[in-house]
Each structure stands twice: as C-alpha cells, then as structure tokens.
Amino acid sequence: MASIDTNRNAAQSTETLTNIRALAAQSLAPLIRHQGSLKTLLPGALARCPERDRALLQQLCYGVMRYHPQLSLLSRKLLKKPFASKDYDLLVLLWSGLYQLEHMRIAPHAAISETVAGARVLGKEWATGLLNAVLRRYQREHETLKAALAEKPAFRYNHPDWFVQKLQHNWPEHWQQILNENNASAPMTLRVNARQHSRERYLQQLHDAGIEAHACQFAAEGIQLAQPCDVGTLPGFADGTVSVQDEAAQLSAELLALQPDQRLLDACAAPGGKLCHALEQQPDLEAIAIELEQSRAGRIRDNLARLQLDAEVKIADAALQDWWDGRPFERILVDAPCSATGVIRRNPDICFLRKGEDIATLSDIQLAVLSNCWQMLAPGGRLVYATCSIFPQENERLIARFLKQVGDASHQPIVADWGIERPLGRQLMPQPDGHDGFYYCVLTKNMCSDEKHVF
C-alpha cells in the first residue's frame, strides 16, 4: 500500500501494562500529537500487551481512530477546558471510554471503572474524578448530547469537514456511499499463488480447514474470507501458497500485460504485493523494485522469499534516476505515494493524519514520480499508474496534467467490469464487503517521440 508515513514513533516504554485502556491511551497519544500512525505505533503497543488482551487493545485503538471525528466533538462538549498536549493520553483515555460506552458490548460500569483506573496507571491520579464525572454524565445525557451535534456534518458522517466537502464536490453521486464504507470494516482478501495452486483447489483446502470463504468477483486469483483470521491459520501460508491482498490491488498484474523476458520496474514497491503478483503470473521477468525506506524494503524481500520469487530490490527514490543503469523498462508499475483515502476503513487514522492541503502536495510528488518513471520507459512500453486514493486530483486529473507535459504518451482505456470508467483511467470505490477504493490508468509510450509514423 502506497501511503506515506510522515512520522516515526518516538521512544516508547517497553513495560507490560495490564490496564489495556491505559496502554491504548499511552500508545495513541503520540499519534494525536502527529508523531506516528496506527501502523507504526500499534506493534510497540501489542508487544507490551498480555496476549489474551491483544484483540481488545487492537479494537480500542482502531475504534478510537475510526470514530475520532465524533469522539472529539463529544469530548469538546463534555470538557470545560481542553487537555494540554502533555495530557493527550488522558484525552485518548476519555475517547476510549466513550467508544466503549457507545460501540462495545462491555457493561457500562466495568467500562467506566477500568477507564478511570487507567488514569491511575498513567500516573495521573488527579484526573480520576474528572474522567469518572465526564463518563457518567455521558451515560446519563448521551441522547441530548448526540442530538445537539447531529446537524454538524463532521458528527453526522464521522469524517472531518474538509473531507466531506471535498468528497461532495468531487463525487456528487457517490460521496455518501464512500463515507458509509469508510466507517465500516473491510473484508480480508487473499491472493492464491497461481504458480502453486488453482483458486478452486485452495478454496477446497480452506473449506477442509473449516475456514469459510468465496471466490472474488473481479480478481481471478482472489478469495475473500467470511471472517478475518490470523495468517498463521491459513493452509500453506508460510510456503507461499497465498498472500493477503485486497481485490482492487490484485487487478494491477493483468493491466501490465506481461510478456516473458521483459524488464519490469515497480516504483514505490513496498510491501511488494503487486510485484509478487506480477512475478507469480510471469516468472520470466527481469524485475527491479525500488523503495525509499530501508525498513519497508525489508518487507518486499520477506514477501519475495516466502513466495520464492526473484527480483532486485533497491533502496532508491522513484523521483530520481541516480540508481538507474540506463536500460529502459518495457513495463513500469507506478503505485504512487498517495493520500490512501480509498483504504480509510483499513487505516482509520488517515482522516486524522491528513489535511485538505496535503492532497495538492501529494499530487506534486505523484507528478514528479510519474514524469521520472516515464523517461525510463522503452518506446512501445506500457506503464500502469495506480493509487489507493479516491480523489481525482491524485488520479484522472493528475494524468491529465501529465499528458499535457509529454508528447509521446497514449492513454489506453481499460475495458473491465470493475470500477467506474473515467475520461482517463478507471476509479474503484470501496465496496460493501468487497474491494477497496483504488485508481488505475494505463499509458503506452509511442514508438518514436519526435518522429511520427505514416503508413
């Protein structure tokens, strides 16, 4: 997934905490200060969590971020004065209390007492009375409080105002569906390794293992599980029989139309899902994957090793050519860094971490990456541009900007039964119990850039 993590987590305590509310609060407080994301902070938190409570910790962290727009409006109404930034752990603790009362099947008295006790664990005894009073007031007055906020779009749709406005403007017919899907949870989807197994055979194996699943509608190797599960329980996972990958992300390999012996570049490759899929389909490729971050490049190598596939992984910037040997590529996949607004249901902190003005900055990066990769594409070659964004600014309008700059690109309309056809490329919206939000566009490089052919 090509999201940008702007911050790394700060140094964290490693001591185990048995009060899971306190652990969630302590772990998410840096995120509220814009230091890190769920993806970067959660592993540390899980390591400090007793094994039996890991599911609860995960649910609390994801739940608080998923309902952040509503929870923060509620807490603003409930608190006389806001918490100072050093007490953001208490703010998250309060949100987790409200979340438990509103969305979890935990007895309210237990939810409140555990949450209040969390303040003591955090060494902030002084706040126990405040938290107790605020949570009990919410318990008594939640109907009135919610009614008072119901008119605010941020509360009603549980998304930041800028996001709702931008979506209404860009997708007048789809915005409500997108907002609904963002508030739901996403299914777990697998990709069967075509070199090892047919989809039908693997479905049978899942059935035999008692795992309920069905074939995906659009992706030929895709299988959707009825319930998410630990990958360790999937038959053959360690041996590379399957990978976890959303159905929309599985559509890239076919669009690349790979032929044996081609040179393939996967720019911004981590974690390598689309690269591995391409190699599963066409093993006779000279594949080069580049990734800016060392740690994320490690994940590409892990995936290649598990699936027994071969590609050269380089730590490099897709907007530069300092790593390139000058030999053009016949195929290029540009899975561009993006707002990840198509995968909010999997990464509910995206809405909190992004600001409206980020989209313009991101689209400049996307244009730089695409323009740079275009120069490395062989005449007659094919480039697939992909994002997991739902904003046209990063997608069809970005491609339009690019086509104005170059004279040797032809847009190839994608004929498919998935997504929505756009003037340039195809847009996928997050689907109920289906694929994520995604965008694809196929461009080919004309045979001669300065001289046109007549025949």
Binding site: A257, G380, S410, H411, Q412, P413, V415, T444, N446, M447, K452, H453, V454, F455
Partner: protein, 171 residues
C-alpha cells in the same frame, strides 16, 4: 523500379476494395519492388497497393529505423487475439500532415503469403499490429480517418481539398 504516385484523401479511388492476388509471379514482384521504393521515398513504414492505385491485396512494410527489414504481406488476413483496445497516433501517406489517435485491438495473428507465394503466419502486437490493421483497411477501401469523429474527418477533408486545389493551380 519506379516511384509511383500516392493517392491522397479524399480521392474516391482509395475507396476501392482490392482483389486477392491469384498467383505470385514476377509481375507481382516488380510491383512489390515499386511499392518499397515508393514507401521508402515517402519515409513511410507501410504501404498498401491501393495507395498507388493498384487494387490487389499487397502490403509492404518496414518498421526498422535503418530501412533494412522489408516485409511483404500478400492476401493478408488478421484474426484478433486480444481485443483489449490499444490507441496509437496514426498517420498515413494518403492523409499527409495529419495524425489522430485510433483505437484498435491490441494483438492479432496475421496470415499471408510472402514474395515467393509461400504461406506464413505471425503474431503481431504494438506497432506491427497497428500497421497491419491500418494497411488491411486500405485494401478494404477504408482509411484511418473513418475511425475518428466526423467533425475531425471533415476538417481534414477540407484542408486537403484546399491543398490539392493550390497544387493544381501551380502545376
């Protein structure tokens, strides 16, 4: 060998449907040599006999930059292997100076006779696929401008008619 005159749109003779070649003999081979000479002279990469007002199903082609890979297709026929639409900015010796995006199937199988009259087949994609479909259109009396909007086609027609009038006046 001789350089022949290339017909230009909207000349009605370009609308003639060409006849299959019955026997590949020396006359046909002389015609092929003329076609190559005409094509190379005009800096084209493909030519259909129709374009020089010979209505037999013969196509010459050379996609190389050095003009050293001549290909001949006699009585060519294509079968679509991949219907995925592929767009290309096409130009044509019979529509000089105009280039328009035309969308055709991405991959085809070509069946034809070579200059010795032997049958061969070839899977074509990219430029070769574009070019052979363009040339077979010529043999069927069609032009790439038939694949674009009537508005664009009429604009090209009137510009070329104007050019032809000016050329006639200076002759």
């Amino acid at each position: 060998m001789a350089i022949r005159t290339i017909l230009e749109f909207p000349d009605p003779r370009l609308r003639t449907v060409a006849e299959p070649v019955a026997t590949v003999d020396d006359d046909v081979r002389t015609l092929i040599d003329d076609m190559f000479e005409t094509m190379y002279d005009a800096s084209g990469i493909g030519l259909a006999a129709t374009q020089i007002n010979v209505h037999q199903r013969i196509v010459t082609m050379d996609l190389s930059e050095e003009n050293n890979q001549p290909m001949v297709f006699i009585n060519p026929d294509v079968e679509v292997l991949d219907e995925q639409p592929h767009s290309y900015q096409e130009g044509c010796l019979s529509v000089p100076g105009f280039y328009e995006e035309v969308t055709r199937p991405q991959q085809v199988r070509i069946r034809a006779l070579n200059r010795d009259g032997e049958a061969f087949e070839l899977v074509a994609d990219e430029l070769l696929a574009v070019c052979i479909q363009h040339e077979i259109d010529h043999l069927d009396g069609k032009l790439f401008v038939d694949h674009i909007s009537p508005l664009k086609r009429n604009r090209i027609r009137s510009k070329l008619e104007k050019k032809h009038k000016q050329e006639a006046a200076h002759r």
